[in-house]
Amino acid sequence: MKELIFERSVAGRRGYRLPPCDVTPRPVAELIPEEHLRQHAPHLPEVSELDVVRHYTRLSQLNFSVDTHCYPLGSCTMKYNPKLNDRIASWSRFAQMHPLHPASCSQGLLRLLDELEQLLCEITGMAAFTLQPAAGAQGELTGLKIIRAYHRAKRRARTTILIPDSAHGTNPASAALSGFRVVELKSNAQGLIDVGELRRHLSHDVAALMLTNPNTLGLFERDILAITALCHEHGALVYLDGANMHALLGLVKPGEMGVDLLQLNLHKTFSTPHGGGGPGAGPVGVAKALEEFLPTPRLRTRGTRYVWEERGKRSIGRVHAFYGNVGVLVRAYVYIRTLGKAGLERVSRAAIINANYLMAKLAGTFPAAFPGPCLHEFVATLKSLKAHGVTAWDAAKRLLDYGFYAPTVYFPLTVEEAFMIEPTETESKETLDAFAAALQQIAEEAKSDPEMVRQAPHRLPVHRVDDVKAAREPNLRWDVRGHKQFAKF
């Protein structure tokens, strides 16, 4: 499949017909002055409905996806996305709701959102939630704005955020976007936060520590209570990147380990589909002392009715045009109600067992970078391949040939030739066995035929893609000029 939808275009072909105009029509040029009107139609393709169906069906078949392949992309929690959630979210009384219609038209939806806030509070041990942020990174941004507002309300000008070196890249980027200075904390030999290092960096300029627990290596910060206590002693808040909440359902409530605020990624832990890159949802939960800073509008009850409260004296303001990614929130609610208490507990248990099982199966081939049991994911190092001139990137490409999407490669930056593997709880034992066997096979191939591995993949719709050419000669759109399909323009 190399043909673009534009290259299928035939002048005059139609794919959709609109109803005739049922009001007295006037020429558009009479309604809108010439100076505001478009001179040339945009160069959109002219194709039939069947052209469109074949094109986008065939294109879809070039993708690996959770529905078709095991997708052990570390830190992304690519688990099964239940179909029931999509079905319910598509009901017109969820999907076809206008955000500015009177609240009396949306009481059922608002009740769902209110219940979801309460469920998330119970799951995390936080006092209050906003569902507004549209993704994890926007949740982080919201959290950092809250941190800033909190210190300003206390008349403190704090400018530093401490972030461990193993953190997701969004953490320092969100901190910088919120006007903070980022100071990186070096992890210790066990891959954890070094409490001594933290103590050295804590000062009256530190607004917060932003940590991930379990961290990106899949390890639980054992000293978490000492860490949060130390931060609080210095007047600093503790922000938890909840990207890895997947490991903690029913095991640990972040609010009970001293976390002041966190974001959740509903498209990870709570099974909403990733959509080829979104939409996600990144609700933010806070401790009681931070509730007044949450974004507006807030969902409130007046008697038995739900209403949106626009005002909030100390609120950081709005982060989304309306109320967040409601279509995603509905799916997450359905998921939580379907699984319930025992189901959610089983999610984290099965995710942790799957990750440890795979780590054990791979120990002789590609050992974990740090010893000891992991939680829901682990980071293996493929540095042994270097002797054969094969990189982790090459192994990732070869893994595609075996029908597995590749784990997250070269992250975290603290591990050499890193493979960050998150099998998730919905993969079966036989899938994990096959995955381990494929990696063992690749380790053998790297010895016997390294060139073949370096040239992988061999069985996919395209061979190894030239990223260097893509970056040196950026071609980010098809140029319609000079193509016969668009000759008439």
Partner: protein
């Protein structure tokens, strides 16, 4: 129901392979003091039970299908061709993630490349990214992008930009060393004299919305010419459906054009998920936030696609990135791509024309009532502002309309107290003549 496949026997085998006796041994790193003592979540349900629960929950809701709604204000009810829903429901589109492994993601990557091309064509701009969260965050990203591109401390934004968008921008900019100045309006559009006065070589960017929050068409070309004279960047927030009829931002001199793209084939969904569109010029390519798909070749020289120019992004640049954005709205990109492909240039032109026809018919009919008068003497597309000059407040009128299954225009008072009797009315192609008749009958019998 929890969707995990393991039998008890398998769990035992796996624990044995791991070399532990129990699950608790695996989580021994978690200090006992922080282990959950209570977890008060309702018990799980079967599929049938969940359906029943949600059917009850959804009962009090009333969807756009159950009203004739004359309310837009940033969220517009448009047609969604059946093929959009059918194709987008495929698991191969819905369940992958960001296409990091290009060779196993050619479908998503080619689709994004087509999307970027379609959006550039629609906007008349040179470069489009692979989308942002929504129109409001796209506007905020355009603001921070302008501040980074230009070492200048001031941003000018028209008061005729959607108030929620201005609020989101202000949240994003808190902590940025910059000053945002709002430019007042005159007769429903940006006051060009006030704009000219506010412009100097401290201004990084001028931000306008087209059509603006009142539905009026801004003198965008003139405003942007003034801005370019002092070297400021020009940022336009536009309405994609209107571009089937209206001059695209690229022809008005925009350096950055953003939009809420949900109207291109995705449901209103109570305002989210949205589809933030962001386009710009070649000159600002390296400043663009978010993902970009590029066309390249594979090892054997065949056309292929990949994410590119990633060094701008957070996972590489960390605190020096152009933005913290990680996910885009890939699934809505797909819907917009299918929507624009199936409509084609002719369909889009007809769709825009239908919107203009219906809204202008509504505008004429409302004036027949005698107590509704246009608030401004300006051209508009599918939304306009009317003053209500009888002794009912707009809120009272809307309460009466609601009882008859009609949603009236949105009162502007909360955001524009100087327009206490004004409301913004909208008619898209989803409004029929009989809807307008029903509205008129209801308004006549107030």
């Amino acid at each position: 129901m929890d969707y995990t496949p393991h039998t008890d026997e398998e769990i035992q085998q796996m624990l044995q392979t791991i070399g532990v006796r129990s699950f608790d041994e695996l989580v021994s790193a978690i200090p006992p003091e922080v282990r959950c003592r209570s977890f008060q979540i309702p018990e799980g349900l079967s599929e049938q039970e969940v359906l029943t629960l949600c059917e009850e929950l959804v009962q009090p809701n009333r969807s756009l299908h159950e009203f004739a709604s004359f309310l837009g204000f940033g969220s517009y009810h448009h047609v969604i061709p059946t093929v959009v829903d059918t194709l987008a429901a495929r698991g191969e589109w819905l369940t992958p993630y960001t296409p990091y492994q290009a060779e196993a993601s050619q479908g998503t990557l080619q689709m994004i490349y087509e999307f970027q091309t379609l959006i550039c064509e629609l906007m008349g701009m040179e470069v489009a990214n692979a989308s942002l969260y929504d129109g409001a965050s796209a506007l905020a990203e355009a603001a921070t992008m302008s501040l980074r591109a230009h070492a200048r401390p001031r941003l000018l934004i028209a008061q005729t930009v959607h108030p929620h968008y201005r609020q989101v921008m202000s949240t994003y900019l808190s902590g940025f060393p910059c000053v945002v100045q709002e430019i007042p309006s005159t007769n429903g559009v940006v006051d060009l004299e006030a704009l000219a006065k506010a412009l100097n070589d401290d201004v990084a960017a001028v931000i306008l919305q087209q059509p603006n929050v009142f539905g009026c068409l801004e003198p965008m070309g003139e405003a942007f010419e003034l801005a370019h004279r002092v070297g400021a960047l020009c940022v336009a927030d536009v309405y994609p459906i209107s571009l089937g009829a209206l001059k695209p931002p690229g022809s008005c001199g925009a350096d950055i054009a953003v939009a809420e793209g949900r109207c291109l084939g995705s449901p209103v969904a109570y305002g989210g998920p949205g589809l933030g569109l962001l386009t710009t010029t070649q000159a600002l390519l390296r400043r663009i936030p978010g993902r970009l798909a590029g066309c390249t070749v594979d090892r054997l020289g065949q056309r292929s696609f990949t994410l590119t120019l990633q060094t701008r992004e957070q996972h590489i640049r960390r605190e020096k990135a152009t933005s913290n954005v990680c996910t885009n709205e890939g699934w809505l990109c797909l819907r917009a791509t299918i929507f624009l492909s199936v409509l084609g240039p002719q369909g889009l032109r007809e769709l825009a024309a239908l919107n203009a026809q219906k809204a202008h018919a509504l505008w004429r009919r409302l004036q027949e009532l005698g107590f509704m008068k246009p608030a401004f003497d300006q051209p508009f597309f599918n939304e306009f502002t009317m003053r209500c000059l009888n002794d009912h407040t707009i809120e009272e009128i809307n309460r009466k309309l609601l009882k008859q299954g009609l949603i009236g225009g949105l009162a502007l008072r909360p955001w524009y107290p100087h327009l206490p009797d004004a409301a913004v009315w909208c008619a898209t192609e989803m409004i029929s003549t009989s809807d307008i008749d029903r509205l008129l009958d209801a308004l006549k019998s107030l």
